[in-house]
């Protein structure tokens, strides 16, 4: 990971707003680098600016200000058809009046590749996406999953420097989506092409991407590897958007070096690592803990608390059996906490019952302090 493939420098995109006065900022000054051969995901809720950013890289939109650099070349004023990128569109946008083969050959014909070679390469691309037998059919005769593959072949056949994917799996059902996630990732690894992937589905981003940019409100909130984003979210939004998180309002009582003691309520105090960013005494903070990182133990028969662990006492509300997991809703003071425990054996499933008093434990570095 050395060469920068795509560089965004302070990119802003404004659209005329619905009310006649003024502009809406869809993208509000974002900067990041995407490296050669990387699977880069832009993840965020709808309206966060991810698709607009992708469209600016493709050349369908021009940035209001800022710079987009592809392979070291500033893209200012370079029209879409001259950029070394190809796009897999949401719901594919296959040309309905052309056969599958004609669709896949289109980009090669535009590049003036000789007909025989174009045909061979298009056929190869269809083989690559495992659709060797549909070349003479029209797109509408194919299933959604097959159309998705054609769209992929139509883009990949041009050997783009960067492949842009705009929610390409959004229209597929869950099972097919999971299959395609595996295939896409395998294909990207094999071809070594840089993928820029836009999605609102955190699972897609986590399973496929090398790095994720979490976006909201036209800003990039955090960029990092899937595990970095999941384990060390830098804001409540990121923690909440990616996976499930318990947020416990708390107050910093005192500090002890790099750690602090926070009070969850009058009786409950726990120790937690302080964030690098400065934090003042008595500041209101949020303690973030993932449900699956909490260990639930019966109050009376719990083993002794290991070193480096924290513990609070609570009352079990609802207990849900969901096959692979148990889900407990536990009340700690004024807080409601979700706990997830894997059903490693059938016996663990019914160990803890509703209205029981329990101990909730977690390893200290699994809890994070977020400044409000």
């Amino acid at each position: 990971m050395s060469d920068v493939k795509v560089r965004l420098v302070n990119v802003v995109k404004e659209f005329p707003s619905q009310e006649k006065s003024g502009q809406t900022r869809a993208v509000d000054g974002i900067s990041f680098d995407i490296y050669d051969g990387e699977f880069f995901a832009m993840l965020g809720p709808s309206g966060c600016g991810k698709t607009t950013t992708l469209r600016m890289i493709a050349g369908f939109e021009q940035p209001t200000s800022g710079e987009i650099i592809l392979d070291g070349v500033p893209m200012q004023g370079v029209p879409a058809f001259q950029r070394p990128v190809n796009t897999v569109f949401q719901d594919y946008v296959l040309f309905p009046h052309m056969t599958v083969l004609q669709n896949v050959m289109f980009g090669l014909q535009m590049a003036k590749v000789p007909q025989a070679e174009a045909r061979r390469r298009a056929q190869d691309a269809l083989d690559l996406v495992r659709l060797p037998k549909v070349a003479e059919r029209k797109p509408r005769e194919l299933s959604g999953g097959q159309q998705q593959r054609v769209a992929l072949a139509r883009a990949l056949v041009n050997r783009p420097s960067v492949l842009l994917l705009d929610e390409p799996l959004g229209a597929l059902d869950l099972k097919l989506r999971r299959e395609m996630q595996v295939e896409l990732k395998a294909m990207q690894t094999e071809l070594g092409i840089t993928f820029v992937y836009v999605t609102h589905d955190q699972e897609e981003a986590l399973t496929m991407a090398d790095r994720i940019a979490v976006m909201a409100g036209g800003h990039v909130l955090q960029i990092g590897t899937p595990s970095a984003i999941y384990e060390t979210p830098n804001s409540r939004f990121v923690a909440d958007f990616i996976g499930e998180t318990n947020f416990l309002e708390a107050q910093l009582v005192r500090r002890q070096g790099a750690e602090g003691i926070v009070a969850l309520d009058d009786d409950t105090q726990v120790r937690v690592a302080l964030p690098e960013r400065g934090i003042s005494d008595d500041q209101l903070v949020t303690l973030a803990i993932r449900p699956e990182r909490l260990v639930i133990q019966p109050y009376n028969s719990a083993p002794p608390l290991p070193d480096g662990w924290e513990e609070v006492v609570g009352h079990v509300g609802q207990v849900q059996y969901i096959g692979t997991d148990m889900r407990y809703y536990v009340r700690i003071g004024g807080h409601h906490v979700r706990v997830r425990a894997q059903n490693a054996t059938a016996a663990t499933a019914h160990l803890i019952r509703e209205r029981e008093v329990v101990r909730l434990r977690w390893q200290r570095d699994n809890a994070r302090l977020l400044i409000q």
Binding site: A58, G59, F60, P79, A80, F81, Q82, V85, N86, T87, F89, V93, L94, F95, P96, H97, F106, G107, M110, A111, K138, R140, R154, A155, N158
Partner: protein
């Protein structure tokens, strides 16, 4: 739905519902065509009325004597269709690419606005504009672009101008309808694959709006070839077309069998492009 009607639809009896339409078509369309077809093989009697014996002379005369007029009609209709297409396609594109609903509405309104006035009145208005002492000549003289009035009225140009003017909406509206269904993301997809504006037009926009183009061409060609008022009023004897010929054969002491033969030829020339249109439409339908 009334009970008896539901029974009718459910049973084989729903075929009965088409009876009025079939009767209408047989009485007022098929039967007259057959009668005209029959007359076209008869001889001319006193006052131009048809009499026996049967003959093929009317058809040979249609091609030998009136072939020039028929050829001219086809030529006028073709030129009108092509000019309408070249003007109408960009107009439809212009309307489609207006951003606000309001701008689209105004543009469409302007396209159909001429229909609010009778064709005859509009054509007479053109005569005033194109005449030797008409508005256009006066203007050109005033601007000293010309020294003497130029002949516009009673030329082929005037006929084409009048036909294009009258037929343009029939070209614009079906193309616009096609274009309204067209999703401009297909253009983005083409550009993304390296197509410039020209390639995106020829390979994507035009093929995908072709049904509208074909419909527009048929809707312009068919009435053009049979038009009567426009060539007669704007073209004079330079604008002789089939309909004028027909009128002269069928009125006064004309030649009714001859007129019948000419109209059968005209009918054939209209049915062929229509058949092509229907056939391509069906092929498109089968794919979908």
């Amino acid at each position: 739905m009334a009970l008896w009607l539901r029974g009718l639809v459910r049973g084989r009896g729903y075929a009965l519902l088409s009876v009025p339409a079939v009767v209408w078509l047989v009485l007022f369309f098929i039967a007259p065509v057959i009668i005209v077809l029959g007359i076209s093989f008869m001889s001319r009697g006193t006052g131009g009325l048809p009499v026996l014996p049967l003959t093929l002379d009317n058809y040979s005369r249609t091609f030998n004597v009136f072939g020039g007029v028929i050829g001219q009609s086809v030529r006028f209709a073709l030129i009108t269709t092509i000019v309408c297409l070249l003007l109408g396609y960009p107009m439809a594109y212009f309307i489609k690419t207006r951003r606000t609903r309001w701008a689209k509405g105004v543009a469409l309104f302007l396209v159909v606005l001429p229909f609010w006035t009778n064709l005859l009145i509009r054509t007479y208005a053109w005569r005033f504009l194109l005449a030797r002492e008409g508005l256009i000549n006066s203007l050109l003289l005033e601007l000293r672009l010309i020294d003497a009035p130029i002949q516009i009225l009673n030329t082929e140009f005037a006929v084409i101008l009048g036909l294009v003017y009258g037929m343009l909406p029939f070209m614009v509206l079906p193309i616009y309808a096609s274009m309204e269904r067209f999703d401009f993301r297909y253009i983005e997809a083409a550009q993304d694959l390296g197509a410039g504006a020209w390639a995106a037009f020829w390979r994507v926009l035009l093929p995908m709006t072709l049904p509208g183009v074909i419909a527009g061409c048929v809707l312009v060609f068919v009435p053009s070839i049979g038009s009567y008022v426009t060539p007669d009023l704007l073209g004079g004897n330079r604008g002789l077309m089939i309909a004028t010929l027909l009128a002269s054969q069928l009125t006064g002491s004309g030649n009714m069998p001859q007129g019948a033969a000419i109209s059968m030829v005209l009918l054939a020339m209209i049915v062929v492009p229509l058949a092509v249109y229907v056939w391509t439409g069906r092929k498109e339908g089968q794919r979908g």
